[in-house]
Symmetry: C2
């Protein structure tokens, strides 16, 4: 399984794996793909620097990348303290009431609680880029479209290609016009921030729009070799995967306390996700749980815009996480969660995908011969 992307990125197989876990990212790179570490969880640039240092020591010299979250429109800036003042009381009351109804206890008084996710503030995402460029990264991806052109320039000066996610062909065209080197066509079925056009339709449209200028990666619904082969049939130069790594052994190393989340993911079917604005303020696909259902009820308020919504629910996420109830998890994941039924090592997932792509192509030869 080899495409031009392998030469572009210096990898063995055109499988790019996005993950918030450095253990998973390093394992993907070691297995011959490109591990891409999600930076949004790092409020402090120093913490990211430390983790990337660990990556440098644990990737056997194989390439890896990072993913930042820069909205194309610059949202409200500020520290978590002054942004908090912009959250309506009605929303706070709804969150408190809902947590009580769902049986999620308060945190102990001595809990050392981090601020909400600030990684989608431009200031914080820019700090991520600065830090990442001090490490031997091979890709900077932006989850929300083109980064500002000066950020693209900064990456290019260091010889680092820039990837951007696109949910429409017109966005892909704009990204490439802005200097983006790789487009990730992210279909409706994907986890996290996602649009409304499904991969089967979106991918060939994006390939036809920009495929002669840059490689296009398929994101959304890719968790097996058959799906990767389908993506290649649709014109992708490789696959961008995310959800499939959430149930790997290595993920548990980063998030050992996530037993409830794992249980919920392993038990879910492909019908158990929902696309909602409650996680960040922009539409994102989450596991459907009693928490997302509460926000879908008639008495629920409209979610706030980014970055306020995540600040609103950040404390709730801590309480939910500590409570450990699989029915009240708050977790971005794609529709392929229905296929995640066992905890496996990263290398096994990669190897199986590569083998199944080969088997699928062999099967297709029989159809046309």
């Amino acid at each position: 399984m080899r495409t031009s992307l392998c030469d572009t990125l210096g990898i063995d197989v055109p499988i790019v794996g996005f993950t918030p876990s450095e253990h998973v990212a390093a394992a993907i790179s070691r297995a011959g793909g490109l591990g891409v570490l999600g930076c949004v969880r790092f409020n402090e640039a120093d913490e990211l620097d430390r983790v990337l240092g660990w990556m440098d020591e644990n990737t056997d010299g194989r390439p890896y990348g990072v993913d930042v979250v820069m909205p194309s429109k610059i949202p409200t800036e500020g520290s978590s303290v002054d942004l908090s003042g912009m959250i309506p009381d009605e929303h706070r009351a709804f969150v408190e009431r809902t947590l009580a109804q769902l049986g999620v206890p308060e945190l102990p008084d001595d809990t050392d609680e981090r601020a909400g996710v600030l990684g989608w503030l431009h200031s914080v995402a820019r700090a991520h880029v600065e830090v990442a460029l001090k490490h031997p990264i091979k890709l900077i991806a932006n989850a929300l479209g083109s980064p500002p052109t000066d950020v693209i320039g900064q990456a290019h000066e260091r010889g680092v290609p820039v990837a951007a996610l696109a949910g429409k062909a017109e966005h892909a065209r704009r990204h490439v016009d802005n200097g983006v080197d790789i487009v990730v066509a992210q279909g409706y079925e994907a986890g996290g921030h996602t649009g409304e056009i499904a991969s089967m339709v979106l991918l060939p449209e994006v390939v036809d729009a920009v495929g002669d200028r840059v490689p296009v990666l398929a994101a959304g619904g890719i968790g097996s070799g058959r799906q990767a082969a389908a993506a290649l049939a649709l014109g992708a130069a490789g696959v961008w995967t995310g959800s499939v790594w959430l149930t790997t052994e290595e993920y548990l190393q980063t998030m050992p306390e996530s037993a409830a989340m794992h249980r919920a993911l392993l038990d879910a079917t492909s019908a158990d996700t929902v696309r909602t604005r409650i996680y960040t303020g922009k539409p994102a696909r989450l596991l459907k749980t009693r928490w997302t259902e509460a926000w879908a009820a008639p008495d629920a308020p409209e979610p706030l815009p980014m970055p306020l919504q995540n600040l609103l629910v950040s404390h709730a996420h801590h309480r939910i996480h500590a409570a450990g109830d699989p029915s009240v998890v708050s977790m971005p994941v794609g529709q392929i969660v229905g296929r995640l039924n066992a905890v496996r090592p990263v290398a096994e997932v990669v190897d199986e995908m590569v083998r199944d792509v080969a088997a699928t192509v062999e099967r297709l030869r029989g159809v046309v011969s």
Copy 2:
């Protein structure tokens, strides 16, 4: 391009084409696929009988099928007159107000107006089956899941296989347990009645659930050879297509007055559809127009259940159709509408799809060799 489905149905290429037009259905069959005539528009069984007679004379002895719409739960029965009494005044007032706001004129007084679509009443759909089984049909498909077991038995007595659409793997399992011979896995991106799971995820799930017992067809997002090849990669034994035939030359022969609808389809992008209950009462994907937007506004009432909603909007559909304004069309279509940019003969669409599947598989061989 040949799979086991070709032997099962006696066709040259595993392309099944659903269409309300007998001209399109016959042309698909003549081109080597299986044309499937949608019966829901025939309120009178005699009219269907006449049209199937035309099919018999225009398919050169090639196989064809029919599609009926039988909800798995038997809905409210009755003539259009007594069902009309169940429609709330608020809904009627909203429709009238909206048509006026959209500039859709009244029909002339002497218009000979048909009743709304009654084809999804069990009584009418059963009459369709009775009539169809008098013709040499090779398939009965049900758009809303398993037909009742006695209807399946009736078809099997005549040696006619039964297909059923499924939007979830568990539905597919139930269909096959009920005696269904072919499952159509219909993804979120499809036009008309559709579920929430995208083809990339749904199709391999359905194949894994029932693919060892029956052939599985891929529906939703299939309008090109690359998409058909992707469907085969995902495990489909063939493709079920619909939207792609709406902009064929032959379709214009059945619906010569549909110029506005054609203009709207040719101009639309893949982002210009919406999944809504306003057409039939069940979620169906339609072209996004000023009509669907009006129903999405905060002042719009909730759509009524099937079959009341279509009776409610039936008169509006007549007025909209007569008005001929492309911005106020009411038309089921899938997300591949973005790829429908020219009027072409059916045979050309089939030939190109077959050629592109072969070219795609050849390209994939390069990836794995």
